[in-house]
């Protein structure tokens, strides 16, 4: 068995094992912490499709994370206040149903990604980074100046949303739900990377002109990747909002986009489990270092610097070898 496969298996099992141990010890806070890591991992797995496979360094993925979060916030807010979202032409009610909220989060973030991608993918390099950053900030300032949904203060949801057959207020059950989604998305991303679409996307990252000569349009490939990537990050946003039972404009902030990139770089760009490793490491460092110092991010920054300088393949690359393989 390849070293990376073994490492991926260990990383995959680490979350449920740690959550199980925390459950046995009665440490519900730790279960919530692991759930947070799993949601961050999901968001970064989404971004990794665009960044790792497609080479698209997006500094605007927080826009999709925030859209997912606000999709949950708005639907749940109207459900808990018994007010319709809209009653002009027809009555549109809110909902507390997680599957419905997820669908709305996925659809709205995919739609936003389609619009943002269609414009920003006409640029490349630093211009692409800047235009995605600009879009992210547009959503951020829009959320701040939207008093109907809390403006700068955000929106609190008093009770976690429902999932059929589960008590989502139970941290372990909510973790299981998040972990199941993360597993499904990881499986799908693994398949996608080996499918003709993923291979062509990876080829377009290496050389767009060569890809064109075999009849593949790099723009369309990248746009599809960007939309899928945005949709997955949007789903993560909805779960994150449900975890905290709170949404605020900070979900749209460029620092959030930066954190997603940090997860990927720490874990390994383009590696299937790179974002998982990076998110786990980041949340662990946050948990261990933030009580020690208010400036704990300096230590994370130092680690990131060391990874970029001496371990270009990230955590996975350092332990499993630098070569990215698709089998």
């Amino acid at each position: 068995m390849r070293r990376e496969t073994i490492l991926n298996t260990l990383l995959y099992l680490a979350m449920p094992v740690a959550a199980g141990l925390a459950f046995v010890m009665g440490e519900t806070f730790l279960i919530t912490l692991i759930t947070r890591a799993a949601i961050f991992a999901l968001a970064a797995v989404g971004l990794n499709l665009a960044l790792g496979l497609g080479g698209l360094v997006s500094l605007g993925h927080a826009a999709f994370f925030g859209i997912g979060g606000y999709a949950m916030g708005i639907l749940a807010h109207h459900a808990q206040t018994y007010t319709p979202i809209m009653d002009t032409w027809f009555v549109l009610e809110g909902t507390k149903s997680m599957p419905v909220i997820w669908l709305v989060a996925i659809a709205s973030s995919a739609l936003a990604a389609l619009a943002i991608g269609a414009l920003s993918l006409r640029t490349s390099g630093v211009y692409f980074i800047m235009i995605t950053l600009a879009f992210g900030q547009m959503f951020y300032y829009f959320a701040i100046s939207w008093p109907a949904y809390g403006g700068e203060d955000g929106l609190s949801i008093y009770v976690r949303n429902d999932f059929p057959g589960l008590n989502t207020l139970d941290p372990m059950q909510f973790f299981a739900l998040v972990f199941a989604i993360l597993s499904g998305v990881l499986w799908w991303m693994g398949r996608l990377a080996r499918a003709p679409f993923g291979l062509a996307l990876s080829a377009a990252r290496q050389n767009a002109e060569r890809v064109e000569t075999v009849g593949l349009g790099p723009f369309r490939l990248r746009l599809v990747a960007f939309v899928i990537s945005g949709a997955v990050t949007g789903l993560a946003g909805a779960l994150f909002a449900d975890l905290n039972r709170f949404v605020s404009p900070t979900m749209f902030s460029w620092q959030m986009s930066g954190e997603f990139i940090v997860f990927i770089v720490l874990g390994g760009v383009g590696r299937l489990f790179g974002p998982v490793a990076g998110a786990m490491l980041f949340v662990l460092l946050e948990h261990l270092l933030s009580p020690v110092s208010d400036f704990w991010l300096i230590y994370v920054g130092t680690i990131l610097l060391l990874v970029v300088l001496f371990a270009r393949g990230g955590l996975i690359g350092s332990l499993a070898g630098r070569e990215v393989a698709h089998d």
Binding site: S202, E212, T213, V214, G215, G217, H326
Partner: protein
């Protein structure tokens, strides 16, 4: 009707004009050699045909349809296959992945490509970057065939290869010519091989087609005058 037809094609790289009037045509099942000394516009002509370089005047027709407005990937989908100069495989993909990434439905599939180049079968799981020059060239041809083109263009396909490997590539080109209806446009420096294999030749001199005719009619004087051999 010709499969590919170029008429009075002129093209530039910014302010620098590279093609001053290229005329050529390739019929189905025909192998045409595009010849000329270095810097005479052979690769630029290939780029114009594959739409990687836009021409500023003249016409480029595939199957009688003007393809001037097509972007490169749509030209490739219309049936133009390119084996670019310098091999240029997708280095970080395996041999199999290189072929899968380019695959489109049609006569050419993985089995037929690996039957043409058995070495690719052996190297399926190897990264393209780790292949020898000859194997990379076989992969580049295989990848172009996987797009199921109607016209295959080979730009300096044997350049820099060992003589034994060159023979393998020429053998494959011969197979393509005799056993498929593909139109072939070949740029190569080996006049001896082209004489053996090509039906017709077009010679470029300073970005202009200066001689067109049957390969048999390409005598020593013409070769001396335009090819410097």
């Amino acid at each position: 009707m010709s499969l590919l037809e170029l008429e009075s094609v002129q093209a530039s790289y910014g302010p620098s004009q590279a093609l001053f009037g290229v005329d050529l045509d390739v019929a189905e099942g025909e192998l045409v050699a595009l010849m000329g000394r270095n810097g005479m516009g052979k690769s630029s002509t290939i780029k114009v045909i594959s739409r990687l370089l836009k021409h500023k005047s003249g016409t480029v027709k595939l199957d009688g349809h003007d393809i001037a407005a097509l972007p490169p990937h749509k030209a490739a989908r219309a049936g133009l296959g390119l084996v670019p100069e310098g091999r240029r495989c997708f280095a970080n993909l395996t041999v199999r992945e290189n072929l899968i990434a380019a695959a489109r439905a049609g006569h050419w599939d993985m089995a037929r490509v690996t039957a043409l180049f058995p070495r690719l079968e052996e190297r399926q799981t190897q990264l393209a970057a780790s292949l020898s020059g000859g194997e990379q060239q076989m992969l580049a041809i295989g990848r172009a065939l996987m797009t199921n083109p109607r016209l295959l263009m080979l730009d300096e396909a044997t350049e820099g290869l060992a003589p034994v490997v060159r023979q393998e590539i020429w053998a494959a080109v011969r197979t393509l010519k005799t056993e498929t209806g593909l139109g072939l446009l070949v740029v190569d420096k080996s006049l001896a091989e082209l004489r053996r294999i090509a039906d017709r030749a077009v010679i470029l001199e300073r970005g202009k087609s200066v001689w067109r005719g049957d390969m048999a009619a390409l005598d020593r004087d013409i070769a001396d005058k335009f090819l410097g051999v």
